[in-house]
C-alpha cells in the first residue's frame, strides 16, 4: 500500500459566484521513503494539489471530487480536529518563502519547540534538547545559542534550514516541500536540496518535491509528475523523463534549462507563450497553443492519460531531434 494515494482529485475555486477548476482529475501515489517530484510552471496546480493533502486550502478553494488516502485513511473524510493532529505529526510542509514563513516576533527555538511539544508531547526541557539536535542536523552551527535568536538574525538559506527542522520536528512520514529553494541563491539551492534528500534517506521519510526546475529533479527524485494547466501530462521515473521526455511540454521544460550533458553552444529554447490561465477555457489539449507539434486533433480533443502520458503525438527519438 502506498503511503499517499491521490485518486481523481479535482480542486475548484469559487469566486464571485463562478467556479473555476484549478486541479483536474489528477491521480498519483507516493511510496514510503520515496522522493516524488511535481514539476510545472506557476499556476499548473502543483501547490494547490499539495495544500489539499495538508487540508490547508484557502477558504475559496474546495476539493470537488476525488480521494486522498494517507496510510490507509481517507483524509477528506477526517474531521477538522483529526486533520489538525495529523498535520506536523504525519505530514509536514516546507514552504517557498523562508523570509516570511517564520514568525518574526518569536524565537527560532520556540517555533521549533512548539511543534515538538504539540506533535510528540515532550516536556519543555526535552523539547529544547530535541530542538538543538534538529538544528545541528540541518546544519545550523552553534545551535544552543541560535535557539534564542529571532528570524531576522538568520539569512534566507539558514531560515530554510530552520523550516526544515520544524518540518522534521514531529517525525513525519511525509514532507511536502513546496519550491523550497526557489527564493534562495543558486549556490544555496544545492545545499538545501542535498540536505533534504539526506534527511529523507536517514529518516525514511517520503517527500513530495514541488519545483518548476526539471533540471534539479533527476538528481533527487525517483519519480516525476509533470503538471500543466492543472493536469498531470507526463509521469514516470526521473531517469526516463530526463533522458527521453515524451510530452512536448516536458521536452520544452528540459530545453529551457542548461544541461551539463549538452554542447554549450546549443542555445536554450524557452517555451513560447504563457502558462495556461485557468480562467480561460482552452479546448482540446491545454498545451496546444504553445506546442510546436500541434495538429487539428490537438485543438479539438483533449488527450487521455494513458501509460504515464497525456499527448496525441508523443515524442520519439526521431521527432525530438528533428526540431
Amino acid at each position: 500500500m502506498p503511503l499517499l494515494e491521490i485518486e481523481n482529485l479535482t480542486v475548484s475555486l469559487s469566486q464571485d459566484g463562478t467556479e473555476t477548476t484549478l486541479v483536474h482529475d489528477i491521480s498519483y501515489s507516493v511510496e514510503r521513503g520515496e522522493i516524488l517530484a511535481l514539476v510545472g510552471e506557476s499556476g499548473s496546480g502543483k501547490s494547490v494539489s499539495s495544500l489539499a493533502v495538508m487540508g490547508l486550502l484557502a477558504k475559496a478553494l474546495r476539493v470537488t471530487s476525488g480521494t486522498i488516502r494517507f496510510d490507509g485513511n481517507d483524509l477528506l473524510a477526517l474531521k477538522n480536529e483529526e486533520m489538525r493532529q495529523l498535520r506536523g505529526r504525519d505530514i509536514s510542509m516546507v514552504f517557498q518563502e523562508p523570509m516570511t514563513s517564520l514568525n518574526p516576533v518569536r524565537s527560532i527555538g520556540s517555533q521549533i519547540m512548539e511543534s515538538i511539544e504539540e506533535n510528540l508531547g515532550l516536556s519543555r526541557a526535552k523539547a529544547r534538547q530535541r530542538a538543538i539536535e534538529l538544528l545541528k542536523e540541518v546544519g545550523v552551527a552553534d545551535a544552543e545559542r541560535r535557539l534564542k535568536q529571532y528570524p531576522h538574525h538568520f539569512s534566507g538559506g539558514m531560515r530554510q534550514r530552520v523550516m526544515i527542522a520544524i518540518a522534521l520536528a514531529g517525525n513525519p512520514k511525509l514532507i511536502i516541500a513546496d519550491e523550497p529553494t526557489t527564493a534562495l541563491d543558486v549556490t544555496i539551492q544545492a545545499q538545501i536540496l542535498d540536505l533534504m534528500a539526506r534527511i529523507c534517506r536517514d529518516h525514511g521519510t517520503a517527500m513530495i518535491l514541488i519545483t518548476h526546475n526539471l533540471g534539479i529533479v533527476a538528481r533527487y527524485a525517483q519519480r516525476v509528475n509533470v503538471m500543466y494547466g492543472g493536469r498531470i501530462v507526463e509521469s514516470g521515473s526521473a531517469r526516463a523523463i530526463y533522458a527521453e521526455p515524451r510530452h512536448p511540454y516536458t521536452d520544452g521544460l528540459l530545453q529551457s534549462v542548461p544541461r551539463l550533458d549538452q554542447d554549450r553552444k546549443v542555445p536554450l529554447r524557452p517555451i513560447q507563450g504563457n502558462p495556461a490561465d485557468p480562467f480561460t477555457p482552452i479546448p482540446g489539449c491545454r498545451f496546444h497553443p504553445r506546442c510546436p507539434y500541434t495538429t487539428q486533433i490537438c485543438r479539438e480533443e483533449a488527450p487521455g492519460f494513458d501509460d504515464g502520458l497525456a499527448c496525441h503525438f508523443p515524442l520519439t527519438t526521431e521527432t525530438r531531434e528533428a526540431v
Binding site: 495538508m54 490547508l56 505529526r89 510542509m93 514563513s101 516576533v105 518569536r106 504539540e118 520544524i166
Partner: protein, 300 residues
C-alpha cells in the same frame, strides 16, 4: 514640554478676562485692585513674570494659586493627580478588556454576526460623546438602579470596593470610546496578520486554532496597535477632563477647568505642564513596549 509650557503661559494671558476681576467682582475699589495686582506680581512685564515662573518650575516650585486659599499649586495637583490617574488606569483596563477579545473575534469571524456586532458597537462607541454616555450611565445605574454612587471619589486607601464603585461608571464612560478605536485597530491588524505566511507555517505544524491566534497572530497584530494606544492616551486624559466634571470627581480635569474659569494662572500652567508630561511619558512607554513585543527593535 518647554514649548507647551511657554505656549500656555502666554495663551492664558491672552484670553479675555483677568483674575482680579474674577476675584473681586465689582466690589473692589481701584486701590484694592492695585494692591492685589502688585502682590501677585501681575504689574511686572510679561517676560519677567515668565522668567520668574519658569525658574521656579525648574526648581520644583509651581507657585501658589492666586485664588482663594492661595494653596501651593504642587499641593493642588498632587491631591488631584491620584484621582485622574485611577480614572485613566481603570478606563484603560476596561478598554483593553473589551477591545482585545472583540477585535480578535471580529477578525477571525469576518463578516459574521459577531463581527457586525463588534462593528456596530465600535460605531456607537465612537459616536457617543463621553459626557453623554456618562449622564446616561448615571441615570441608569446610579439614579434608577442605585447600584453605584453617582458622584465623588474615595481613595484606594479606604478599600478597594469604595474606590472601585466610584470609578466604574466614569471609567466605562471614558473607556467605551477608547475600546472602540482599539477594537477596530486590532481587527484590521489581525486580518492582515492572519494572511501572513508564518500563519500557514503555524497551521502546518498542527497547532490548535487557539495557539495560532494567541501565540502567533496576536503578538504581531499588536505592534501597530500599541502606537495607536499611545496616541489615543490623549483621549483618556481629555475624556477625563469632561467626565470628571459630570461625576464631580476633583481630579486634574476639574482643577484645570476651575483654574481656567477663575483665570488662576499658576494652577492652569501647572496642570497643563503635568498633562503634557504624561503625554511625553506615554510616548516613552510606547517606545519601550515596542522593544518588548518586537524583537527586531532593540535600543542599545
Amino acid at each position: 514640554m518647554l514649548a507647551v509650557s511657554t505656549l500656555v503661559f502666554f495663551m492664558i494671558r491672552l484670553v479675555p478676562g483677568d483674575p482680579i476681576a474674577a476675584m473681586l467682582a465689582d466690589s473692589g475699589s481701584p486701590e484694592a485692585r492695585e494692591a492685589l495686582i502688585r502682590r501677585l506680581g501681575l504689574d511686572q512685564p510679561l517676560l519677567v513674570q515668565f522668567w520668574k515662573w519658569f525658574t521656579g518650575v525648574l526648581q520644583g516650585d509651581f507657585g501658589a494659586s492666586i485664588y482663594g486659599s492661595n494653596q501651593p499649586v504642587a499641593n493642588i495637583l498632587m491631591t488631584a493627580l491620584p484621582k485622574t490617574l485611577s480614572l485613566a488606569f481603570l478606563s484603560f483596563v476596561i478598554a483593553i478588556v473589551i477591545a482585545v477579545p472583540a477585535g480578535i473575534i471580529s477578525a477571525t469571524r469576518k463578516n459574521s454576526a459577531a463581527d457586525v456586532g463588534v462593528s456596530l458597537f465600535a460605531f456607537l462607541g465612537l459616536s457617543m460623546p463621553d459626557f453623554w454616555l456618562a449622564i446616561i450611565l448615571i441615570i441608569i445605574f446610579a439614579a434608577n438602579l442605585q447600584w453605584l454612587p453617582a458622584i465623588g471619589y474615595t481613595p484606594l486607601a479606604e478599600g478597594l470596593w469604595p474606590w472601585l464603585s466610584h470609578l466604574i461608571l466614569p471609567s466605562i464612560a471614558i473607556g467605551t470610546g477608547f475600546s472602540a478605536i482599539i477594537a477596530r485597530m486590532i481587527r484590521s491588524s489581525m486580518l492582515e496578520v492572519l494572511q501572513a505566511d508564518y500563519m500557514r507555517t503555524a497551521a502546518a505544524k498542527g497547532l490548535t486554532q487557539h495557539a495560532m491566534l494567541i501565540r502567533h497572530a496576536l503578538p504581531n497584530a499588536l505592534i501597530p496597535v500599541v502606537t495607536v494606544i499611545g496616541i489615543a492616551f490623549a483621549l483618556l486624559i481629555s475624556g477625563a477632563v469632561v467626565v470628571e466634571n459630570v461625576f464631580s470627581i476633583k481630579g486634574l480635569g476639574r482643577v484645570l477647568i476651575q483654574g481656567i474659569q477663575n483665570r488662576d494662572y499658576p494652577v492652569v500652567q501647572g496642570a497643563v505642564l503635568l498633562v503634557s508630561a504624561f503625554f511625553v511619558l506615554s510616548n516613552l512607554v510606547v517606545d519601550l513596549l515596542y522593544a518588548a513585543i518586537d524583537p527586531r527593535i532593540r535600543y542599545s
